[in-house]
């Protein structure tokens, strides 16, 4: 699975490190002082993740938990995200990671006790008594959780603080670790979904939508709260029918009572990411889209188009019986 595993000297003896090494296949391993001496030092082309993906096992330094941007989540509470990993094993054509980092190589941070400690410090502040904490900003939060083994630690933390919420964002169907844990009212597993055809066209190496829906069904039966991210929506003729079908299938397995929220967003890129997408996927139907350079410098549809697409999908969600108060537009001004 991995070409080379680079291990920071100071995490050699971390129990998470040995647990990870015991579960993965790799060609060779090397000890290094600091992961940033190698990771991201040179511009490694994104698509080389397909055949020469390296793994770095390291200690996260600096800010372990960060304040999320506006419109990150539902409601007026504070939203934070924590960083447990960089990069993702999946490959989606629109993924912003391809322009965000200089390399597709994975980093797994193993100092979870320090991350959790920082979360507790934030929770202790008055303004954060009901704050949200999200995983999955720079990586899929479940895809490798059977290897990294840290989920139980975070579940314990949120048992202690029932007013705070944890969101694990994913496209993965790797739910065995979740089924082995006890769900909690303040823990949400949120799935990013495209239409069936959209996923075939753009989610290059990802579990299919059918498999993701099956995973959602199992988690609902187990008692988990579910969040849904319909993001990014990429316009093409017939997208309404496709999302109608998706939401119909979703409605069969997820009732409004177990739904935490649905976020709706249309495709958008920073200039750097867009350049990478053009380069990495020159034949993608995404290049036939009518994008403009918008008010914030991002490449996206014009305002009317964006609002029309999002409102169309929002109406489909309402038609399916999901509550309006649980639906929000993601990352819109």
């Amino acid at each position: 699975m991995f070409n080379t595993v680079f291990i920071e000297n100071n995490v050699q003896n971390n129990p998470h490190t040995s647990a990870i090494l015991g579960k993965i296949k790799f060609k060779e391993s090397k000890l290094i002082e600091n992961y940033s001496d190698v990771w991201g030092r040179v511009k490694k082309p994104y698509l080389q993740k397909r055949d020469t993906l390296n793994l770095f096992i390291a200690e996260k330094k600096g800010d372990l938990v960060k304040l999320a941007p506006d419109a990150y989540g539902l409601g007026k509470e504070n939203h934070y995200y924590y960083v447990h990993a960089y990069n993702c094993i999946y490959e989606c054509q629109y993924c912003y990671l391809q322009g965000y980092f200089n390399t597709p190589d994975l980093v797994l941070f193993v100092n979870h006790d320090e991350i959790i400690n920082e979360m507790e410090i934030l929770i202790s502040k008055d303004e954060n008594t009901d704050a949200w904490f999200h995983a999955g900003e720079y990586s899929d939060s479940l895809a490798l959780s059977h290897i990294t083994g840290e989920l139980g630690l975070y579940f314990e933390l949120f048992k202690k603080y029932p007013k705070n919420k944890l969101e694990l964002r994913t496209k993965s169907v790797n739910i065995k670790p979740l089924l082995a844990l006890k769900p909690s009212e303040n823990i949400y597993i949120s799935f990013t979904l495209s239409s069936f055809e959209g996923a075939k066209a753009f989610d290059y190496k990802c579990p299919t939508i059918t498999h993701r829906l099956n995973a959602i069904k199992q988690l609902v039966n187990h008692g988990y709260n579910i969040g849904i991210h319909l993001d990014p929506i990429i316009y093409h003729e017939g997208f309404e029918n496709e999302y109608s079908e998706l939401l119909s299938r979703l409605g069969e397995i997820l009732g409004d009572e177990k739904l935490g929220y649905i976020s709706i967003g249309v495709v958008r890129f920073t200039k750097d990411v867009h350049k990478e997408v053009l380069n990495n996927y020159p034949d993608s139907p995404m290049h036939r889209q009518d994008f403009i350079k918008s008010f914030d410098g991002k490449i996206r549809y014009n305002r009317t188009m964006r609002m029309w697409i999002m409102n169309t999908v929002k109406k489909l969600c309402l038609n399916q019986g999901f509550s309006e108060k649980k639906i929000y537009l993601c990352m819109e001004e």
Partner: protein, 325 residues
């Protein structure tokens, strides 16, 4: 024409003979034949940058192919094998350089170009964190190729493991053998081009300005369906370049047509009395600019009448995505 690039004459000798290449200038380092140019740049990235840039600018080859011997910095990459190279990195003054260049090869082997010869095992290990192979020139070939927008390929014959065991004299003695092996390998390769519709493939039956032609080129590349585009042109319904551009935009985004009609309906009453309405073409800004020449009371009366009927909420609804599709 292909330009074959080598650092050393020893590596190039078999190519010069087999491809029947003749010297093209007094330097004795540049050769040409029916289908190939060949440059011997000398060792190191600086000479490569300078000489390759000069000869590409003068002779305009379509493809650059770098060939030569290189060292291994990975135990699994064995001496004696030839590898196509995927990405070229650079190491100088003890640090890797951020910029990299990727060849048009299908491969999983990367090469790091070193400013200095690698005669130290510790340094070889450090370079091995970034690539499996080390040489002295490839990154420079990549830099020139990217700057001049020419695809480049590279094939390296592994002569030894880089480090304190490197024996430069032995390598020189085996130059003919290496050259011959590279030649045999090279003759088995083929190189490919992209197939995008060029605007020259289209015959426009109307005048188009430079800007319009650029716009048409961009849109036809996006659609990439020559038959469809030619059918539109041959339909006889296209009045001019702007009309053609609208038709192409509608193919890319059918919602565009509805949006345009909606805006036209909104602004027509004001435009019919001579006002000019300006709306942000990206629809990012929720504002309308109105300009009108007033040269009589009639203009003012007409404007007042139309403004009484004009509702900003109609524009707001449009801005919020409420269009009939």
């Amino acid at each position: 024409m292909e330009l074959l690039h080598f650092a050393h004459r020893g590596e190039a000798q078999s190519f010069i003979k087999a491809l029947n290449l003749k010297s093209l200038d007094d330097t004795g380092n540049f050769y040409g034949g029916n289908q190939h140019y060949l440059l011997i740049s000398g060792e190191g990235h600086t000479d490569t940058l300078i000489k390759l840039s000069y000869y590409i600018a003068k002779y305009c080859p379509k493809i650059i192919v770098n060939l030569g011997i290189a060292g291994s910095v990975n135990e699994q990459v064995k001496p004696g094998e030839i590898y196509p190279i995927r990405t070229a990195y650079f190491f100088m003054d003890g640090e890797p350089v951020f910029q990299s260049f990727t060849t048009s090869n299908e491969s999983s082997m990367d090469c790091i170009t070193s400013h200095n010869r690698i005669l130290d095992d510790k340094l070889a290990i450090k370079l091995g964190n970034f690539a499996q192979i080390v040489d002295r020139e490839l990154w420079a070939v990549g830099k020139v190729s990217q700057n001049l927008k020419i695809p480049f390929y590279s094939y390296k014959l592994i002569s030894d493991y880089a480090g304190h065991n490197t024996q430069c004299f032995d390598l020189k003695a085996r130059a003919l053998e290496f050259s011959q092996r590279l030649l045999e390998y090279y003759l088995e390769q083929t190189f490919f081009k992209n197939n995008l519709i060029e605007t020259t493939d289209l015959t426009l039956p109307f005048h188009a300005s430079f800007t319009q032609k650029k716009k048409i080129e961009k849109l036809t590349h996006k659609i990439n369906d020559l038959d469809l585009i030619n059918n539109i042109l041959e339909s006889g319904e296209i009045k001019n370049a702007n009309h053609f551009i609208s038709e192409l935009e509608d193919i890319i985004n059918p919602i565009n047509k509805h949006l345009r009609k909606h805006i036209e309906r909104l602004i027509h009453p004001l435009e019919s009395i001579g006002a000019q309405i300006l709306i942000d073409k990206n629809l990012d800004q929720k504002k309308i600019k109105l300009q009108m020449e007033i040269n009589s009371q009639t203009n003012i009366d007409n404007l007042k009448k139309q403004l009484d009927h004009f509702k900003f909420s109609d524009f707001e609804n449009l801005w919020n995505g409420e269009i009939d599709v």
